[in-house]
């Protein structure tokens, strides 16, 4: 069956450390993968997109990697701050579909303590 899994429901780290979130998928052929941030009571906000032929993408303190052999994406936040505390969602768009519907994981809730 097709699955997209974010391995940790919750991740607690100290301010200044690097947070690493994992997203694994099964039986999908992603055209590209996206990461979103969601705060309580709000809609998801787009952070980064990485295509199947890209290995790494960076934006300020954020870095995402994409390994189609391992069927995995890693999302890193360096020098984390309490303001980074939120739920982070990975989502993919499959090659095997007609449109651009996003298939989401359940999310990982990150808590950064000062």
């Amino acid at each position: 069956s097709q699955k997209i899994e974010q391995n940790s429901e919750a991740l607690n780290i100290q301010e200044g450390k690097t947070a690493t979130l994992t997203c694994n998928y099964t039986n999908y052929s992603p055209a590209y993968l996206q990461w979103y941030r969601q705060d309580p009571g709000r809609g998801p906000v787009f952070l980064l997109l990485i295509r199947e032929n890209e290995k790494e993408k960076r934006k300020e303190r954020l870095k995402v990697t994409f390994d189609t052999t391992l069927k995995q994406s890693l999302f890193h936040i360096t020098a984390s701050q309490p303001a980074d505390s939120a739920t982070y969602l990975c989502a993919l768009v499959s090659l095997n579909q007609a449109g651009t519907a996003l298939i989401f994981g359940k999310g990982t809730t990150l808590s950064v303590s000062s």
Binding site: V93, T100, L102
Partner: protein
């Protein structure tokens, strides 16, 4: 520049009733997608509209229907409401179906079924 707006923000209905949720896309966007997010879960794709037609549909029953208007705004209708329909309903807009543009989400309508 207004982002995606959804109305109402909260709604309480009883089983068997019908509900209509509304969405105005981000200025310049022509594609609207609807997602259902249950508590503690990632968003699940319901359907996507482009050029006033449903272009892609997720695994939701026919009780869920939609519409897109010439100004690109959209409605989600749910008939014969069930307790399990209680969720946050998210609208997302993007530019042109088939592109790999990120989706911009509204803050959702919280629907509670009693």
């Amino acid at each position: 520049d207004a982002g995606v707006t959804q109305s109402p923000t909260h709604l309480i209905k009883t089983r068997g009733q019908q509900v209509t949720l509304r969405c105005s896309p981000k200025s310049g966007h022509d594609t609207v997608s609807w997602y259902q997010q249950a508590l503690g879960q990632g968003p699940q794709f319901i359907f996507q509209y482009y050029e006033e037609e449903e272009r892609q549909r997720g695994n939701f029953p026919d009780r869920f229907s939609g519409h897109q208007f010439p100004n690109y705004s959209s409605e989600l209708n749910v008939n014969a409401l069930l307790l399990g329909d209680s969720a946050l309903y998210l609208c997302a807009s993007s530019l042109r179906q088939g592109s790999n543009q990120p989706q911009h989400f509204g803050d959702g309508t919280r629907l509670s079924i009693l």
